[in-house]
Symmetry: D2
Subunit: 289 residues, 4 copies
C-alpha cells in the first residue's frame, strides 16, 4: 500500500525474537502520538527471528523528524538483540542507477515507468558497457555514461563506477540485463542494494544460457527471478519470481521473446517492493511484506 | 501456519478503526504472560475498519482458559465500536457436515483428507439428496443421510436437516457440489458457516451452466470460486478462487474434466483457511490472512 | 513460431468441415513443390467447422507469388463451403495505427517493442484525443495526430480518422487504452482488425470501472482481456487474457498499478498472435493457434 | 479431446522429418474411407524430427481393425526413416498398476478417479512396500500386494514385481509417491511406461528433500513434476508440471500441505495425457499434444 498524500515514516527491523516486541514498539509510536497506518510482522520460528515493517504518519508525531533515528536507536533498538533496522520517509525520492548492456527491454520499461512517475524516484545516471541505448536515454534528457570494459581495465572501471554512484548519491543499483559480473568491491559497497534480473526461475538454470538449457531439458514452465546481488553468482536472496507455461510448440526464439516480458515485469515488481521498504533480508532469504 | 504441538488460543476481531488497537491488545496478552505466536492485522481505509487475527500459547497464560472469553469481552472488546469477534482454541476439533448431490469429486477429496487427518476435524454426517455415494461414505464407517427433496417437501426437509446439524453440533457446512439452493432459514442459522464451491471464476458465469457459458463465450481462462453462502445466489463473500488457462482445443467435456480438479482444490483451500480462523468477513468481502 | 530467415506464405482458412481438407490442401502444396513448415488445424465439432493455418516456403514453390491468391481461389477454396480465408507473406511489413488517450503504459510498451524491432511492422501514425504523449511519439520521429473529440464533432472526426487510416494503408488498429467508443462505421471498416485491451478478465466486470468493481466484489483474481472490437461493447471475440492473484492487502491504487502490467503484456501477446496470423475468428470466438 | 461415443483408432508416430508426411498419411486414411477426427503434428526443426498424432473413426474404415497394424507397417511406416510409432484403439481399456509407499494423497486421488470412471482403465493391482493403505485399497474390492523391501531382497522383489505386472498385463505403471528407486531391469521393461511424480519443479530441487531445499533457498514458487522414469534419477522426460506461489509466511509444513495438492493434480494430468496417447517422447523430451 502507498500513502501518496500523507507524509509517513517507515521503520523496518529484524532481530532475535522475544516476547513483546510488537507491543512495545506500537505502544512507543502511540504514546508519541503517531498514527500507525500499516503494520506487518513475521516470526521465522526456525531462525528464531522477528521481522517488522511499520509505517506511521509523521504529522503530529511528537518526536521531531530529524531526531527519530536517534530516539529509536536509544529507546527501542538498543533493547533488542542483533537488530538490523532502517528508517526512511515516504516523501524522500530514492535515487536509482541503471546498468544495461545490449538487451533493452528492461531499460525501456524502467524509463517508461520513470517518465510516467510510477515510482517516487530520481534516475540521475544510466551506465552501460555498450552504446546501443545512448540515444534512447539522452533523448529523454537523462545522463548516459559509457564505459568500455575489458579484462584489463575492469577493476579501474569499477572504481570509476563506484565514484560515479557516490557522486550521484545512488541508493539502489538496477542491473537491467547487465552482462558483466560485478566484483566484490562494488557488491560490498551496495549490499542488498543491487537488484539483478535473471532470466530463469532460479535455482533452475543458473548461469549464462537459461533459455537454451530450459529448452533442451523440455520443461513445461520457464521464469524470471529478481534477486539481490551477492558474490555468489545467481545465489543472492530472491525478491520476486514469476513463471509462464511453455510447450514443445515454443522454439528457443519464442522462449526469448516471451521471457523478455516476464523479465521486465518481475524486475519492476522487485524494485517496487524494494522502494516501498517491503523487503527485509536475513541469511540469504527475504521476507517480502 | 499451524502449531500442531502447542496449545493455542486464536482471537479474530474486526471493528471500527481507531488508534492503538494493536498496541492495547498485544500489551494485554503480554501482561498476562501470553506468548504471541502469530499476529495478522489489516486496516481497510475505505471502510474505516480494523481486522486482526492473533494466536498465542495458552500454556502459562494467566487467564484461565474458560474465562478468556469473558475477560476479553469486558476488558478488550467493550473498548471498541461495532466489534465482531471470535475466540477459539486450536486443539478443539471442529465439526463439519458435507452436503453432496451426484458429482462426487469434491466429496471423495474431502473424505480422503479426512481419513489422512489433514485437518483437525470430525465429519459426523454426510447429507445428500441422492443415493449415489452412500456406499462410499458408509464403507469408511461414516454416516450417510439421504433426503428425497421435492418441491413440496423442501421446507420440511430443511427443518429436519437443521435439526440434524444441531444434533451433531455442526460448526461448518460444506456444499460439495450440492445441487439445491438453500433457503434463508438454513442460511441464517449458519451465517458465514456454509461454504459453497461454484464452478466458475465469479462474478463471471454465475448460475447453473458456467462451463457451457465459458465455452460459448470463448474465454481463455476458467476457474472455481469458494464462497460463503448468502441469500443472494452466487453473490456471497469470496474466500478462495483459482483459474486455469483454456483454449479452443478444449471441448465442453474437457472443461468439465479439468474444472473438477480446480473445484476440489479451491474448496479445500477455502475450508483450510476457514478452519484456521484466517477468514474474517465484513460487508460481503473477506479478509483472508 | 516465426521463420525470420525464410520467405514464407501463410494460408489461414476456415470453412464447413468435411472429409479430406487437410489431405487435399497439403497435397496441393506438396505437388507444387512447397515445403510445409508449419501446419495447425482444428475442428470445432459443435459448430461443424474446420480451421487451418498453413505456412510454407515460397522459395521453389511452382506457383508464382503473385498468382497464389488466384490459384488458391480457383483450385482450393472453391471446393469448400462457406470459406473465410486469407493469404499473406511473412516478409510483408504490416502497418499498425495506435489510438491512445491519457493512460500511457500500453503506448510506451508498444513503442519500445517497435523500436527494438520485436515485430515486423510499421507504425506510421499514432492517434489521440489528448496531447499527453505528443512529445513521447515525436521524439522517436513518429507521427502523432491529435483530434479534439466532442459529442458534436465525433462523427466528423471518425471520418477524418478513417481517411487517415486509409491514407496510411493501415492493416490493424490498436486501441491502447483509448477512452472513446468507436462507432459502427469505423468498426465495420476494420472488422477483426481493431484490437482493444480491456482491464478486466471479461466477461467479469465489463464497462468503465473494472478495477473498482473488482475491488468492491472482493475477488481474488483480476485480469486483462485483449479482444477484437465489435459493435457490442466489451463483447468482441477474445484473443488473449491473463490474470493475477490479488488479496485484501491490495488497495484500489494497487489494482491499477498491477493491472497496467498485465494490460500491456496481454495486449502485446494478442498483437503478436494477430500479426503471426494465428488468430482465426468465427461466430464471436477465436481459434488461436 | 476424447470421443467417448465413437470407436476410433489412434496413430502416434515420430520419424526423421521429410516433405509430405502429413499429406501422405492423411491421404492414406482418407482413401480407405477413414474419417479423421483429430490431427496433431509438430516439427522439431532443431532435431529434424516430425511428430504426429492422428485419430480416426474405425467404423467404415476399409482396413480390418486387426490388419491396420500390418498395413500401416508395410504401406506407411516403411516409407520413412527412424520411425517410432504406436497404434491403439480408444475402446481398449488400458491397465494400470499403482506403486505407493506411505504418502497416500496421490493414491486416494487415483482411486477416486477410478471409481468415478474418469478414465477408461482397469487397475488390477496396487503394490506397496508398506501396509498403510491396505484397507483403503481392499475395501474398494481391489487387490493390494505388499512387498517388504530390504537391501538384500530388493532384486528378488523386483523380479516378483515384474512377474506380477506381466501376469496382470499392465500397460502403465504409476509411481504415486513410491519411495524406492526402481532398478534398470524394471525401467527397461517399461520404457516410457512408468510415470513418477516428483515434488518439485524439476530441474530445481531434484532428490529427496525438495520442500526443505525450496524453503531454505527462499524461492517464491514451488511445483511438481510428472515424468517418465529413466535410469537417471529425476532426469526422465517431463510430461507435466505445475507451480504455485509461496512466500515467507509458508512454513515447511505449509509447503508440504500445499505441495500434496499440486502433486496429485499434476500426476493425474500426466496420466490423462499418457492414456490419451498425447505424449510422444524423443531424446528425453516430450511432445504433449
Amino acid at each position: 500500500m502507498s500513502f501518496s498524500n500523507i507524509n509517513t515514516a517507515i521503520l523496518t527491523l529484524h532481530c532475535i525474537d522475544e516476547k513483546g516486541i510488537v507491543s512495545f514498539i506500537t505502544d512507543f509510536i502511540l504514546k508519541n502520538n503517531g498514527n500507525i497506518l500499516e503494520l506487518d510482522q513475521h516470526v521465522d520460528y526456525d531462525a528464531n527471528r522477528f521481522f517488522m515493517r511499520l509505517e506511521w504518519e509523521t504529522e503530529g508525531f511528537l518526536i521531531n523528524k530529524n531526531k527519530i533515528q536517534e530516539y529509536f536507536q536509544t529507546l527501542v533498538v538498543n533493547r533488542y538483540q542483533d537488530v538490523v533496522w532502517d528508517l526512511s520517509f515516504n516523501n524522500e525520492k530514492q535515487r536509482l542507477a541503471i546498468f544495461v548492456s545490449h538487451y533493452g527491454h528492461c531499460l525501456y520499461d524502467l524509463l517508461a515507468r520513470y517518465e510516467m512517475k510510477e515510482w517516487n524516484v530520481e534516475i540521475p545516471i544510466i551506465i552501460s558497457n555498450h552504446l546501443d541505448f545512448k540515444h534512447v536515454v539522452e533523448r529523454m534528457g537523462l545522463e548516459f555514461k559509457y564505459f568500455e570494459v575489458t579484462k584489463s581495465n575492469k577493476s579501474k572501471v569499477e572504481d570509476e563506477q563506484i565514484q560515479l554512484l557516490k557522486d550521484h548519491k545512488i541508493d539502489t543499483v538496477i542491473l537491467a540485463r547487465y552482462m558483466q559480473i560485478l566484483s566484490p568491491k562494488i557488491v560490498k559497497e551496495y549490499q542488498n542494494k543491487i537488484i539483478n534480473i535473471h532470466h530463469s526461475s532460479l535455482p533452475a538454470f543458473p548461469g549464462a544460457n537459461p533459455y537454451k538449457n530450459a529448452f533442451n531439458r523440455g520443461v513445461k514452465f520457464m521464469g524470471a527471478t529478481a534477486h539481490y546481488v551477492t558474490n555468489e553468482l545467481d545465489e543472492g536472496p530472491i525478491i520476486a519470481q514469476d513463471v509462464i507455461p511453455i510447450s514443445h510448440k515454443h522454439t528457443l526464439e519464442d522462449l526469448k521473446r516471451r521471457g523478455r516480458d516476464i523479465e521486465k515485469i518481475v524486475l519492476s515488481k522487485a524494485i517496487y517492493a524494494h522502494l516501498s521498504k517491503n523487503v527485509l533480508t536475513h541469511n540469504n532469504k527475504t521476507v517480502v511484506f
